[in-house]
Symmetry: C2
Subunit: 437 residues, 2 copies
Amino acid sequence: MTDQPAKIVLPESEIPTHWYNIVADLPTPPAPPLNPATDEPLAPADLAPLFPMGLIEQEASTQRWIEIPQEVREVYKLWRPSPLYRARRLEKALGTSARIYYKYEGASPVGSHKANSSVPQAYFNKLAGRTRLTTETGAGQWGAALAFAAETFGLACDIWQVRSSFEGKPYRHAQMSVFGASSVGSPSDTTKIGRRLREEFPDTSGSLGMAISEAVEAAAEDPNASYSLGSVLNHVLLHQTVIGQEAIKQMALFGEGAVDYLFACAGGGSNLGGIAFPFIRENLEGRQSVKVVACEPKAAPSLTQGEFRYDFGDTAGLTPKLKMYTLGQDFVPDPVHAGGLRYHGMAPLVSHCYHEGLLEAVALGQREAFEAGVLFSRAEGIIPASESNHAIAGAVRQAKAAAEAGESPVILIGVSGNGLLDLPAYTDYLDGTMVDA
Amino acid sequence: MTDQPAKIVLPESEIPTHWYNIVADLPTPPAPPLNPATDEPLAPADLAPLFPMGLIEQEASTQRWIEIPQEVREVYKLWRPSPLYRARRLEKALGTSARIYYKYEGASPVGSHKANSSVPQAYFNKLAGRTRLTTETGAGQWGAALAFAAETFGLACDIWQVRSSFEGKPYRHAQMSVFGASSVGSPSDTTKIGRRLREEFPDTSGSLGMAISEAVEAAAEDPNASYSLGSVLNHVLLHQTVIGQEAIKQMALFGEGAVDYLFACAGGGSNLGGIAFPFIRENLEGRQSVKVVACEPKAAPSLTQGEFRYDFGDTAGLTPKLKMYTLGQDFVPDPVHAGGLRYHGMAPLVSHCYHEGLLEAVALGQREAFEAGVLFSRAEGIIPASESNHAIAGAVRQAKAAAEAGESPVILIGVSGNGLLDLPAYTDYLDGTMVDA
């Protein structure tokens, strides 16, 4: 029992004024995306049919700091700065000497970190005169976040949701509808590629790669539409760096100037990059020596099992080729509960950092992830998203190792979202029916 | 666009140190509860089989301020102080000259205000050596909150959930399970009264009154168990006054020393009492002149349609008799979506205030409530709980009236919870299949 703070909540004036672009600080430059027709480095104009120029500029930028428009900061105020907690009850439950903290993105209106990027994406599209956004979604977190952002800026929004998630998560469909967006299960019969995939793989549970192909096709065919991606691309990771910037300040206010371990879940890489890149900058500038650990699912272990090579971002090969750790564009992961982590590749910037030794990775099974999630829920009261459970499981391993070694490291966990709409997965785990994919 | 704050988040040091007991300030004393066997005023000892002495003392207290134990404040820090927002986008969407604010309890770990009382209830039971809690739940918010609190203090927890809600809301059942609690649909075959009710009314959708009877019976038969109630009783409303105390400070920090209208939903009355009683004190002491409006559902309009008389708190007549506005102990409301508002009576303290003219009431249909909830979601990003939508609908009526009259009142809404687990109700509304019960 103590009267020390349980959490640090910064005032709105501490919402970052700039996004942090790690490209400016990388010891070696990341490989450029390639035009799939020519295999030449992509020119900004190549992306113009899909994205507004404001986002294309961010995608290619080498500037360290990119200003956050005031209109975006105004919307961020709905939930930012997000809280950072000391997990005292979790420490006690684990009997660890580690000091555990978590940065919590689950109190955003849509329940996850995804709104950090959906809002600027909708804003720059609005600026460019687009009137409609198309996108894919896995667990539904990104779809809900884009639906909210599109509504905020008065844009229409059409969403292709991975079929296994669409059928297993009717609440997510409802959430997108409340914000006025339309959503269909993917592969669907609303696009050419969707119809082809349904013919070829009638029983497929779908994949993010397939859903991306559908959303890209729909955007390419409508001059008023843009495609929005919820992860993977440089500009998406850029937007998420508000998380890590806030976390560094909050840890300092807790009196922790040096974090020893940072655990974050990694599917496409935006959550990981968002919290980790500002800490990697701390490392590169010699202020901290944080071991950054990407926690990926065993069902889609792109970093730990994939190859580092050029690959398409989608199944049909409609996107530019990206240099990344990949399991192959046609890889269809098992339909595990952490739908947001079921992606065949990993963001090029995260892949580059991993390849350069700036971060580590571990693959965790979903039973271990949910065991950690239930432990966390009972200790901290917050039920984490399925994806976040992977980061918590990674941290739990470390905390147990610390207890055995008699060490007291400072561990920070990125909790990317809340699990209220993942509750059926918890039921599977508690009933013992969850497979360990 | 402005750089004024969008929300006021107080530091943890501003979590109230005391609960506010309105009994000390009421112009006339409220009528005492009666022992149902003798119709004599209840003695504290009469309640001892059901409640620990710490809570019985609070129930009967006439002290103005009751200290919040440090152990409870420590748990409150997980989500308190809760944020208070200016609803600028909602104002714009309504074209109103009113200034609209909302106090938001939906970011608590369990998603509603209910944890404000479940935590001290579990704490005082733990202090008294009880090892098990029994309770009822309507929408599931109270059940989830008590499950969380019981887990926090190491108590077992058994929950009877109104059958219509148990069957329609599997996510709530899962949420209670994550916190280690067991829950069954009520009426159930686990109690004598439950079995009798199932025989008498085999097709009943259940009611809070029936579920209370079951939980009370179960507690009375186990000397290690206590019964916990999520609303209605004085000590429950007392615990919720942290909401109103914080809100007064936050409104002042927004520069609004005087609130003109306060809208809060009212089922059993704990949410309403929690936010309203500190404002009624402002009125009684001449600092403000707030019109407090209880927003109840047309399906269970105890204040606007009930009688002010002694009645039982439950269906079977196991509880003390309470002087309250009531629709009768055997009233079974239509199975509307706002399960938390489906109660036949109204908290004696809220009833007394209503009778004395210290607050007003309005009954709203659920279609109007959800219309307001969707408007609010699209404007503010936060999807409110079904119950909270009634308060928002009341405020929307007032804001529209203000626009017509060219007035600029200050309107405060109590948003008691988030609606992530109520999303199927939103689907019903958006599909046009919601009845206007």
